[in-house]
């Protein structure tokens, strides 16, 4: 059952991903991307990372993609006026991405051996365990990400605000 | 300590000029160069004739890389320092009548160049050598680009790129050698004692050779030279031909020969062939030159070609000849350019075709000019003779064929020099030379100093050769402890 779920979700994710990059209309791209995100959230649940899954939905589907969607709508960018790249460029892009994929799959050999069979701890995905790790080991990154967000806020304001002074 | 004094005197003078922007810049510069000459003579008097390095001064600079500020002089250095100190007053003086913009800067840069030259000739550390080598370039670059002729920008640019390209290879060579020294040191002795196999020596040889060949310049690296000579202010032309060329030859003495003797054996013939080709080529072009400066420039290539051939012949005659020829060529070049400048001042042209008949108007100038030309074409009794003689001997010893061809230097030299003399000094006066005034007494006196030295060196060459003899012996036979005179 769960195995079937895995492959189903994988299929959905990849298919949706493919649609994202091929859809003509950006709004459709956004929607496909949301589907892909939901599939990935499903994977997280399969991996027993419920907290992650929920946060993933909240952040990606709930915030980021809404922003995308509203920008597309606000700027009325749904018109299909994207000039097509030449076929050579398209081919080059496909080849590049394909090579990347081939490289990755090529490096897979012997992967089983590197993942030591650790005793599985099903608590790691829980809020408590995550919180402990986050606020003990990863306190500093947590703190400094404030800088990141603050600069993003400043940036969004200064770039888009109509009248600065 | 006195070496430091030699080095710092021009630097201090230059700094003083830079800061004070003195209106008396010419005079101050002249005084400084004369003082330098006095200092150099004092050094020469104190010098003992052996192969040891004297007047040593050693300060730590960058200890982590084994770079010391180590300067001192042996015979070869001393001769070149003397040459620099002797010629600098002339180089400064020749520009006296020009009214350059920002004179203080002009003379300060000249003094800086002198400091760099003395640094090159006295440094006993490979890195320091390179450092001064590049340092000379900067004042020269600015002198040429700020006060040069019409095409100065492009020409100087070419010159600069050429020489820097070459010197980078030299730097690579130095770094490589440095890495071979036990414990890592740029000290000259340490670098010279590095034992390398034949192939590596070949690489190092070429790295150094490109740098020196561009500077000298050896055919086919010479393309920057005639333009540069023609477009630079006269002082810079003198500086380039009389002194900076010697840096390269000195470099061969100091680095190529001691460090890569096997490579010299292997590749020397190619270099000599190049040099000899250069001699012929430059001489032939010199014959058809119509401009005095360009003619002397090509002549210089020819002479330097002979020097380089002599050096790479790698025998005592060749080396001593080169040593001696460095001096005489330096003096000769300054002398010729000085006279050309005088002619130019009075007529406003350097075109041979528009001159002529000066002899009748200015006998003093013509006489002195003749002496200089005779020196250049190696007339016995002048200094040029001994230098070329020894060089040819060296090349003969190396290869009879090449020696024979080299002899053409003298023949062809005589052709173009005398033709030039004939066209400019003899014959009928032209429009420009009709009102030619003879040189003044002070000018005559100044040129006479050169004449005196030319004859002194022509008559008593051993005074100079002996100073360099021991170091040259130690280059040729590095393992022999001492050489009996």
């Amino acid at each position: 059952m769960t195995q079937f779920l895995f492959y189903f979700l994988s299929f959905v994710a990849v298919a949706a991903g493919l649609m994202v990059i091929t859809a003509k209309n950006p709004v459709h791209s956004v929607l496909y991307l949301i589907i892909a995100f939901f599939a990935i959230a499903g994977h997280y649940i399969l991996l027993n990372a419920q907290f992650l899954a929920i946060v993933h939905i909240i952040v990606y589907a709930g915030a980021i993609m809404v922003l995308f969607l509203s920008v597309i709508m606000l700027l009325n960018l749904n018109k299909d006026n994207e000039p097509a790249k030449s076929n050579v460029l398209k081919l080059a892009a496909a080849v590049a991405a394909g090579l990347l994929l081939v490289t990755f799959t090529g490096t897979l050999k012997g992967t089983e051996s590197i993942i030591a069979a650790q005793p599985y701890d099903d608590q790691i995905g829980y809020v408590k365990a995550l919180g402990k790790v986050l606020f003990n080991d990863f306190l500093l990154p947590f703190e400094v990400s404030a800088l990141l967000l603050l600069s993003a806020i400043i940036g969004a304001v200064v770039l888009v605000k109509h009248d600065l002074k | 300590m006195i070496t430091i004094a030699l080095l710092s005197l021009p630097i201090l003078a230059a700094l003083f000029l830079f800061i004070s922007r003195n209106a008396m810049a010419k005079q101050i510069a002249l005084i400084a160069t004369v003082a330098e000459l006095v200092l150099a003579v004092v050094v020469a008097v104190q010098f003992e004739q052996n192969s040891a390095v004297q007047f040593l001064a050693n300060y730590s600079w960058i200890p982590s890389l084994g770079i010391d500020f180590k300067v001192g002089m042996d015979g070869i250095s001393l001769l070149l320092v003397l040459l620099t100190a002797f010629l600098m007053p002339f180089i400064v003086h020749v520009s006296f009548k020009k009214n350059y913009d920002k004179e203080w800067a002009f003379y300060a840069l000249l003094l800086l160049a002198q400091a760099g030259l003395i640094g090159v000739f006295t440094s006993l550390n490979g890195f320091l050598f390179y450092f001064f080598w590049e340092l000379v370039l900067i004042p020269v670059y600015f002198l040429a680009i700020l006060w040069g002729g019409e095409r100065r920008v492009a020409v100087t640019f070419k010159f600069f790129i050429y020489t820097v390209l070459g010197s980078f290879f030299m730097l690579l060579g130095f770094i490589y050698l440095y890495l071979q020294t036990p414990g890592g040191s740029f000290d000259m002795a340490a670098l010279q004692s590095v034992q390398l196999d034949r192939e590596t020596q070949g690489w190092i040889f070429w790295a150094f050779f490109i740098a020196f060949a561009i500077k000298m310049p050896v055919f086919p690296f010479h393309t920057w030279q005639p333009d540069m000579y023609a477009e630079s202010p006269v002082s810079v032309t003198m500086l380039l031909s009389a002194l900076m060329v010697k840096m390269a030859v000195y470099g061969v003495f100091r680095w190529i020969l001691p460090v890569t003797p096997l490579a010299v054996e292997e590749w020397g013939n190619i270099v000599i062939i190049l040099s000899v080709t250069g001699i012929i080529y430059a001489s032939c072009i010199a014959i058809v030159q119509k401009n005095l400066r360009r003619l002397v420039a090509y002549a210089s290539i020819a002479h330097v070609g002979l020097m380089s051939a002599g050096v790479f012949a790698f025998n005592s005659q060749g080396l001593e000849g080169a040593m001696f020829q460095m001096l005489s060529h330096g003096i000769g070049a300054v002398a010729l350019f000085y006279v050309i400048e005088l002619i130019y001042e009075k007529t406003g042209t350097m075109e041979i075709a528009s001159l002529g008949g000066i002899m009748s108007k200015a006998p003093r100038l013509a006489t002195i000019f003749l002496i200089f030309i005779l020196s250049t074409i190696a007339m016995p009794l002048t200094n040029g003779f001994w230098g070329e003689f020894l060089l040819l001997l060296g090349v003969y010893k190396y290869s009879i064929v090449l020696g024979t061809i080299s002899t053409l230097t003298i023949v062809l030299g005589a052709v173009y020099m005398l033709r030039m003399y004939q066209a400019s000094m003899l014959g009928k006066t032209s429009v420009l030379t009709q009102n030619f005034e003879d040189i003044t007494i002070p000018e005559t006196l100044i040129l006479s100093v050169l004449v005196v030295v030319i004859f002194w060196m022509g008559v008593q060459p051993s005074v100079f050769i002996d100073i360099a003899k021991h170091p040259i012996e130690s280059i040729l036979y590095p393992l022999a402890p001492t050489v009996i005179n």
Binding site: L46, Y60, D122, V160 | -
Partner: protein, 110 residues
């Protein structure tokens, strides 16, 4: 949900997760290279980031270490910040040229 993945390895072998992530990542790369619409390029980048997230979660489960999942949160923070800035830039450009076609921005040559 409580007992779905008590034995995580039964769901799928790690290789499949890696391949899946690599596939998604490559799709993202392809999207960036293929498309000219800035927003879609941007979304492709989001897809790439999510491929990383997925793989991190998988590794985290297989290593039984929470660090991987924590990393994902930071990636999300970064993604959010990037989106804020990126969309601000896009809006800014749109105001100036009324288009976000990357070809119109060719005052500076690539």
């Amino acid at each position: 949900m409580e007992n779905i993945s008590a034995q995580i390895t039964q769901v799928a072998p790690l290789e499949h997760y890696i391949i899946l992530s690599a596939l998604l990542f490559s799709l993202g790369v392809l999207g960036v290279l293929l498309r000219r619409n800035v927003i879609i390029m941007f979304m492709s980048i989001e897809l790439m980031l999510n491929a990383c997230n997925l793989l991190l979660a998988a590794f985290s489960a297989f290593h039984s270490s929470a660090a991987g999942q924590i990393f994902v949160f930071f990636i999300m923070i970064v993604a959010a910040a990037e989106v804020a800035v990126g969309l601000a830039i896009i809006v800014m450009i749109y105001r100036n040229i009324h288009s976000i076609d990357i070809n119109e921005l060719s005052k500076l040559k690539w």
